[in-house]
Amino acid sequence: MNDHRETQMNQRPNGSAKSQWLTQLALLVVFIGLCAYRIHAEHNVEVWVKCVAALSTLAIISFIYRENRLYRLFEHIFIGAATGFLVFVVWRDSLQGNWWEPLSKDGKWYLILAPLIASMYYTIYSPKHAWMSRLLIGTMFGLYAGQCFQNFAAQIFPQISSSFLPLWKHGDMTMGQVLNNWVFVVTLFAVMTYFFFSIRHERPGIRQTATLGRWLLMIAFGATFGSTVMARFSLFIARMQFLLADWLHVAK
């Protein structure tokens, strides 16, 4: 277990609680000042909403300095709002259209079975009847297990047939394409070899292929990491543009 408790692991900077309160208070005053300046400039509701959005944004960004009271507050607000919105979306997108209206308007009485069966989930709160939740959830696992054949065929078969790449020149193939095919096929087989469980890696041929597989895997992971960096930065660029341009109007 490489010890990675680097020295910089200062969870709780030793500044006294009082000084923390002061800095947080000062920051809050600055924030309120900025809001007042913006609300004074524009008298409408949108500005109020933007100020609340700015506070939410800054509360979450404050987490990268240290987990703090403001972050904790907005973490709980976020979980509450997300759960509340989930209740609304579940009603609007599935229960209302697929259950309540057919039941109440079209007289499909048998749809009452859905909540009745779902009531078995709620037996977990009485130990004597909790086994019934296992019966229902076990059946659900059975349903998902039965889908494995279709999922495998739909996802894997097209990839198998598209891996049949010619390894030497045919017709108008360029040398570049032949080289690319070799790289593709060698990577595919080497990485698969690396993952064998029950075949001893010490066997001749297997060890070298598995090591090559591991190296190619590392190249692929590096490439994926590198290609994601731009997308992640653009997320924060958008937030900074909101704070500086939409909210404070200090940038175009």
């Binding site: 979450i60 069966i117 996802q155 590198g226």
Partner: protein
Amino acid sequence: MEKVAPPALFQNWLSSHIFTPLSGGTFYIALVGSVIFWCLFLFILQSLPSPIRRRLLVVTTFVAGLFYSVEFFWPAEGNRLTGYVEPLGVFLQIMGGFGLGIGIISLCNVHGKAIFRRQPGYYNSIAFFLAFVLMIVASFWQHYVKPDTSMEAVAKQFYSFMFDGLYVPLDSTVFSLLAFFIVSAAYRAFRIRSAEASLMMITAFIVMLGQVPIGMALTNWIPADGPLAGLRLERLTNWILTGLNAAAFRAIIFGAMVGYIAMSLRVWLSLEKGTYFEKEL
């Protein structure tokens, strides 16, 4: 023209005899009847001795698994199960919706105890309940408010306050934290400690350089249509991503999907080992 699935096994008989829409008095009788039937059914279930319960679970899991696999292997023409796939999907979605209550009970349990026991930071739990209730009120109100009345404007503004003021900025800002974490993770992890670690680092370097203009400037002097065009950073990045990267991930996905089939078979045939499956019912 939408390909209408052939009627499934007994589907016509069921929908004409049992699952027929009713109205007026008979509708309510049917409702109450099914509730009573269900309570009876649960009472019978509860009286089953433990070994029979275990066998019942094995049978229901197997039959449930049988449905989707047989429906898949049964050729399209004359397939007498396809008719049930869509209604079953909707039924499962509705049951999932009713399952949400367990989550809300769990949240109320954790935060309710925090408030009741005055645990430190219990005001956060109060904020949770406030946000939870206000969001429900705001979203249902703007959904059901009568259009072009004075209340509609208030409802829309209240919803905008909760949605555009709290939910969307919190969601996109937590997502944007990745910009910081990807930098600190790369700084700490990309160290030339071993051959493999440096391989990963060098490739990440090349791909990062290939995506920004300053990086592309380094190899802009290589003619774009010459033989060495492939060494231009942006071309090299694309070659790694479309060739080597795609092959390595395909190999991982092949292995993972075989593992997925192995586990699904164990669950379906009740061969699975582990506390959840072996505990006495």
